[in-house]
């Protein structure tokens, strides 16, 4: 049987939970996101600055960056040369496609792979670095946003890239 005392307890807790869930101040209490960066090429991982190599990171690995000192930067599992890391913002791993094509698009992933066909097994034409911009001329729907067709400066088809690594630049769409 629900006593008056128990009823007041439950009611108070429910009210407090509802109030706190709608309080915007929670966002201010969350820690700032840590800086991230991507590896440029195959990057040796050291046990300490100027120490011995304990492994390698694959190219375009996104990792949380620690303190930088003397040309070295601390990462999750050791140290890497600071010159081998390019800082980059975190991004939403979803494709943002333009309403119409052609359109200008920017690489938001660590790198975008351009292939001869819209197929992961087709030969690689180019590897485009983070923040590079290109003109997309067509789109094929599929998993993870499908594929976009990229054109070179003369409008000729360069190849296809998975749309998930790109975002549209609506403001300069021709």
């Amino acid at each position: 049987m629900l006593t008056r005392r128990t009823f007041l307890k439950l009611g108070g807790m429910s009210l407090a939970a509802y109030t706190l869930s709608r309080w915007d101040g929670w966002r201010a209490l969350q820690p700032l996101s840590l800086p991230t960066g991507r590896t440029i090429g195959a990057v040796p991982l050291y046990d300490r600055p100027n120490g011995k190599i304990i492994g390698y990171h694959f190219p375009d690995r996104v990792m949380t960056l620690g303190k930088a000192r003397g040309g070295w930067i601390a990462v999750e599992d050791g140290y890497v040369a600071q010159a081998a890391i390019e800082p980059m913002p975190t991004w939403k791993q979803t494709a943002t496609l333009p309403a119409r094509f052609p359109a200008h698009m920017e690489v938001v992933a660590p790198a975008a792979i351009v292939r001869t066909e819209a197929n992961a097994l087709s030969p690689v034409v180019a590897r485009i670095a983070h923040t590079s911009q290109m003109q997309a001329v067509d789109h094929l729907s599929g998993a993870h946003g499908g594929w976009i067709a990229l054109a070179d400066a003369h409008g000729a088809l360069l190849g296809w890239s998975q749309a998930v690594g790109w975002r549209t630049l609506d403001d300069i769409t021709p």
Partner: protein, 294 residues
């Protein structure tokens, strides 16, 4: 004494199982061992089996199965693979072989030795190959199965399987090389294993933020593999962690991979020996579909 036995469909299926089944152990389970696909193989009775040792036509000794088992035994880890392993995925196995060193069975030395099997195939060993060869009667702690060459299979480390005949019945010393079975068939097959590496498993992440774990093997026969490298989507070749190698045995490699975004990736691997990539054929990529990156 010798009668053909036909392989069942299940046998054929077993032969096609990838070596990855044995990833938990360095040894391939005997039931999953690579074997050549053939319509039949000899079934030899140990009771009547004899191993004849000869120099040319002159017989030097004839050993029974019991004689062989009574000889000083030796154990050896060795990888067995087909010369077609570079273009097919399953034609390689690794086992612990028990038998008698061939050099200890021979009363004299010669430049070449021709080893013949009850299936009509034979091979010619050089003196150096003969020094390392073992007449194996057990693998992975069990008696050699009939389909692998019971009662005795020749194991020559660092060579392809066609240099390791099974159901061995005769060893013949000679001073000149003799054309072996495959050469008489018009096929010139390589003796020494060409270096190669392979991706065997891509284990999905166990939790959010964890890496994909890449697992594979690399093998270079009697040569030492300097390093194994992986390329993702034709990117830079990145060295991966390679277990210390033993000549004549495959080495396992592993790597951790954090895909940057969901989608399809084409992974390639290569083995570096003597400073260069020596794969005889360009390996097909291992395609991984990453559903989500968290």
């Amino acid at each position: 004494m010798i009668s053909p036995r036909f392989l069942s469909r299940r046998d054929l299926f077993t032969a096609l199982r990838p070596a990855a089944r044995a990833a938990s152990s360095n040894y391939t389970p005997t039931e999953h061992f690579y074997r050549e696909l053939r319509n039949h193989y000899p079934v030899v009775s140990a009771e009547h089996w004899r191993l004849t040792l000869a120099h040319g036509a002159q017989v030097m000794a004839s050993l029974s199965h019991e004689d062989l088992l009574a000889s000083p035994a030796t154990e050896m880890d060795a990888t067995l693979c087909s010369y077609a392993v570079h273009s097919s995925s399953a034609l390689i196995s690794h086992g612990r072989w028990c038998g008698v060193a061939l050099r200890n069975l021979l009363p004299e030395r010669s430049a070449y030795a021709r080893v013949m099997g009850a299936d009509g195939r034979d091979t010619t060993l050089t003196r150096q190959q003969l020094e390392n060869a073992v007449m194996a009667y057990a693998v992975n702690g069990v008696e050699l199965p009939a389909h692998l060459g019971y009662p005795v299979k020749l194991i020559v480390p660092g060579t392809y399987d066609h240099k390791c005949p099974g159901w061995v019945t005769r060893v013949e010393l000679s001073d000149t090389p003799v054309a072996d079975y495959w050469l008489r068939q018009g096929k010139v097959l390589p003796d020494d294993v060409q270096p190669f590496a392979r991706i065997e498993q891509v284990l999905p992440r166990s939790r959010n933020g964890a890496p994909y774990r890449l697992r594979g093997i690399a093998y270079a026969g009697l040569r030492a593999i300097q390093r194994v490298e992986v390329s993702i989507d034709d990117g830079d070749w990145t060295p991966v962690s390679l277990a210390a190698g033993v000549p004549g045995c495959w080495s396992r490699w592993r790597a951790e991979w954090y895909p940057a975004l969901p989608g399809s990736y084409a992974l390639r691997v290569r083995a570096i020996v003597d400073g260069i990539d020596q794969h005889p054929v360009i390996p097909r990529p291992f395609v991984v579909n990453v559903e989500a990156v968290v």
